[in-house]
C-alpha cells in the first residue's frame, strides 16, 4: 500500500483533545473545526470525523494516536471512543490498522504520539508491573485462537485460572467445564489444538478469554477463515455471552454481515483515522459516501483497490 504522508500530521483539526483528554468522552458530540489547507487533507476528505454519542461512558479512548512501522504510517491521528457495556465494532478495509488498535489497547504496542486510555488509565505510561496487573481486565480472542500448542484444550482454558487465582483444581474444573459447554466444546477437553478445526480453535480461544470474567473482551477478526454459517453462530455466541456477562466488547472485522448482526456501536476506520462512529442504526443510515459504500459492500464508490 502506497502511503502518502500528510504534510503536517499534527494539524488535522482535532488538536484540542491533546490538552483536554476528557473532551473525547462519549456523550460529547464533537465536530472537528473546519479544516484549513485542503490540499494536505485531500485524502481524508471523506473523513467527517463525526462522533455521535453512544449514551454510555467510554471504556476505551484513543486520543490523537499516531503509529508508524518504518515508513508505513498506519494510525494517523486516531480519535475513537468505545463505549462501556456495549458490543462495539471497529470496521474498515484491510490494512487500515484495525489489529494495531487492539494491540494498543492491551499495551503490546505503544503509540508514537497520543494516548490510549482504558477506564481513564493511560496504558502507554503504565510501568510494567501495573500493565501486567491491568491486563487481567482483558480477555482477547486472537485471529487463530492463539491456543498454546503444547497444552490440551482443557489446560489451555484453565491456564489463566491456574496462573492468576488460588482456586483449587475442583473449582477450576467447574469453571472450565462451564465455559467449554458455553462455547459448545463440552467433552473436547482432552484434544490438542492441532486436532481442531479453525472454528473450534476460535471458540476455545473465546472460552479462554472469558475464564477470568474480564471487563473488556477484544476480538481480532473472529470471522476470518470461517464459513458464513460458523460466522453467524460465533456472532450469536458473542451476543449471548455479552447479554449474560455484560462488559465492553470490541470486535474487529471487515465483515458487514457480522456487523449488522452484533454491533451496537460502530466505528469506521480508514487510512488510520475514524471516518465516522456512532450507534449502529445511525451508521447504517449514514449519508457519508464512504461509509455507505463500505457498509453496503459495493464496488462503485470512493473506495478503490489502491
Amino acid at each position: 500500500m502506497a502511503v502518502e504522508e500528510p504534510v503536517e500530521p499534527e494539524s488535522h483539526g482535532v488538536k484540542e483533545t491533546e490538552s483536554e483528554p476528557e473532551s473525547a468522552h462519549a456523550g460529547v458530540v464533537f465536530e472537528p473545526p473546519p479544516r484549513e489547507g485542503a490540499g494536505e487533507e485531500e485524502e481524508f476528505e471523506l473523513h467527517t470525523g463525526t462522533i455521535r454519542p453512544s449514551k454510555a461512558p467510554d471504556a476505551i479512548e484513543f486520543i490523537d494516536v499516531h503509529k508508524s512501522f518504518g515508513r508505513n504510517h498506519v494510525l494517523r491521528g486516531l480519535n475513537m471512543g468505545l463505549p462501556e457495556g456495549q458490543i462495539s465494532m471497529i470496521i474498515g478495509p484491510s490494512g487500515t490498522g484495525k489489529s494495531v488498535c487492539i494491540k494498543h489497547i492491551v499495551g503490546l504496542l505503544y503509540p508514537d504520539e497520543g494516548d490510549v486510555l482504558v477506564h481513564g488509565q493511560s496504558i502507554p505510561s503504565l510501568p510494567d508491573a501495573e500493565l501486567f496487573e491491568i491486563r487481567k481486565k482483558f480477555g482477547v480472542l486472537f485471529q487463530d485462537g492463539a491456543l498454546f500448542g503444547s497444552l490440551n484444550l482443557y489446560d489451555n482454558v484453565a491456564f489463566p485460572l491456574r496462573q492468576h487465582t488460588e482456586k483449587g483444581e475442583e473449582e477450576i474444573a467447574e469453571i472450565v467445564n462451564r465455559r467449554m459447554r458455553e462455547v459448545g466444546l463440552g467433552g473436547e477437553g482432552t484434544k490438542m489444538p492441532n486436532e481442531l478445526s479453525g472454528g473450534m480453535r476460535k471458540r476455545a480461544g473465546f472460552a479462554r478469554a472469558l475464564v477470568l470474567d474480564p471487563q473488556i473482551v477484544l476480538f481480532d477478526e473472529p470471522d476470518s477463515g470461517l464459513d458464513p454459517v460458523r460466522t453467524a453462530l460465533l456472532c450469536e455466541l458473542i451476543k449471548e455471552v455479552h447479554s449474560e456477562h455484560g462488559g465492553c466488547y470490541v470486535v474487529i472485522t471487515h465483515d458487514i454481515m457480522s456487523a449488522r448482526r452484533v454491533a451496537e456501536h460502530i466505528s469506521v476506520l480508514w487510512k488510520g483515522r475514524i471516518v465516522e462512529s456512532g450507534p449502529a442504526q445511525e451508521l447504517f443510515a449514514s449519508e457519508n459516501p464512504f461509509v455507505r459504500q463500505f457498509l453496503s459492500g459495493e464496488a462503485v464508490g470512493p473506495l478503490g483497490m489502491e
Binding site: L108, E133, A146, Q163
Partner: protein, 259 residues
C-alpha cells in the same frame, strides 16, 4: 555492516541480560512448575542423544590416542592423550554441539512458532511476563539439569576411551592405561570442565531464546532464525572452548598452553 552487528550484539546483550536477571532475581520461581516441566523435557528428549555424541567422540579420542602412543613406541601415552582429549577439549565440544543442535534449535523453533501464532502475545495479554515464563524458566531448567547430565556424560566418555584403548586396540594393559589416565587429571579439572560446558549451555539457551522470541516473518522467518542461531552458537561454543582452555589450563605447569 559492522554497525548493524554492533547494534544486534547490543540487542542480544540487553535481552539475554533481562533473562539472566529474572533467574538471578528469583522472579522465575513464580513459574517454578513450568521450569520443572522444561527440566523434564530436557532430560527425556535430549539426554540420550547428548550422551551418545559424547560417547562416540570419546571412543575416537581413545582410538587416536592408542595409535598415537603405538607410533611413538610408548603405548601407555594413550592414557594421557585420552585424559586431556576427553576432559578438556572434545567432550565439552561434543556437549556444546549437541546442545546447540538439539536444545538450541528446539528452543528457537518452539518460541518462534509461538511468536508467529500470537501465543506469546496471548501470554502477555493474560498478564504473564512472557520473557520470564518462556525464557527464564528454560535457563533455570538448563542450570538445574545440565550439570548432572554433563557429569554422567563425562563418566560415559571415560568408559568409552577405556573400551577403545584397552579392549579394542589392546596395546596397553588396563593398569597402564588407568595409571596415566588418572595421573594427568585432578579434581579441579572436573570443575573447570564443568564450568566450560555450563557456560556453553547458558550461551546456547540464551541465543535460542533470543532468536526464537524475536522471530518474525512467518514460518520462513522462524527457519531463518533457527539457522542464524546455529551459526552464532557454533561460533560461541568455540570461543568459549578456546578461552576456557586458556584460562583454566593455559598456565598449567605440566603442559602450558600458549605460555
Amino acid at each position: 555492516m559492522p554497525r548493524e552487528w554492533l547494534s544486534a550484539t547490543g540487542e542480544i546483550g540487553r535481552f539475554t541480560g533481562s533473562i539472566v536477571r529474572d533467574v538471578w532475581g528469583l522472579r522465575v520461581f513464580r513459574f517454578f512448575g513450568e521450569a520443572l516441566r522444561q527440566s523434564g523435557i530436557l532430560i527425556i528428549s535430549s539426554a540420550a542423544v547428548i550422551w551418545a555424541l559424547m560417547f562416540v567422540l570419546a571412543l575416537t579420542c581413545g582410538i587416536e590416542g592408542a595409535y598415537f602412543g603405538i607410533s611413538l613406541g610408548a603405548p601407555t601415552v594413550a592414557g594421557q592423550f585420552a585424559a586431556w582429549c576427553d576432559l578438556r577439549e572434545v567432550i565439552p565440544y561434543a556437549f556444546g554441539y549437541m546442545m546447540a543442535a538439539k536444545v538450541g534449535t528446539g528452543i528457537v523453533a518452539e518460541l518462534g512458532a509461538m511468536r508467529i501464532s500470537e501465543e506469546i502475545d496471548a501470554l502477555e495479554v493474560m498478564g504473564i511476563n512472557s520473557v520470564t515464563f518462556l525464557c527464564a524458566t528454560r535457563l533455570l531448567a538448563a542450570w538445574l539439569v545440565l550439570p548432572f547430565m554433563y557429569l554422567i556424560g563425562i563418566g560415559g566418555a571415560f568408559l568409552a576411551s577405556y573400551i577403545a584403548v584397552v579392549q579394542q586396540v589392546g596395546a596397553v594393559s588396563s593398569g597402564g592405561f588407568l595409571l596415566l589416565f588418572w595421573q594427568f587429571q585432578n579434581p579441579p579439572d572436573f570443575l573447570y570442565s564443568l564450568i566450560k560446558a555450563m557456560v556453553m549451555a547458558t550461551a546456547i539457551v540464551l541465543v535460542g531464546c533470543y532468536y526464537g522470541y524475536n522471530a518474525s516473518g512467518g514460518p520462513v522467518g522462524v527457519g531463518r532464525a533457527t539457522a542464524k542461531s546455529m551459526v552464532l552458537n557454533l561460533i560461541l561454543i568455540h570461543l568459549i572452548g578456546m578461552l576456557g582452555t586458556q584460562v583454566f589450563w593455559g598456565a598449567n605447569p605440566r603442559a602450558p598452553i600458549g605460555g
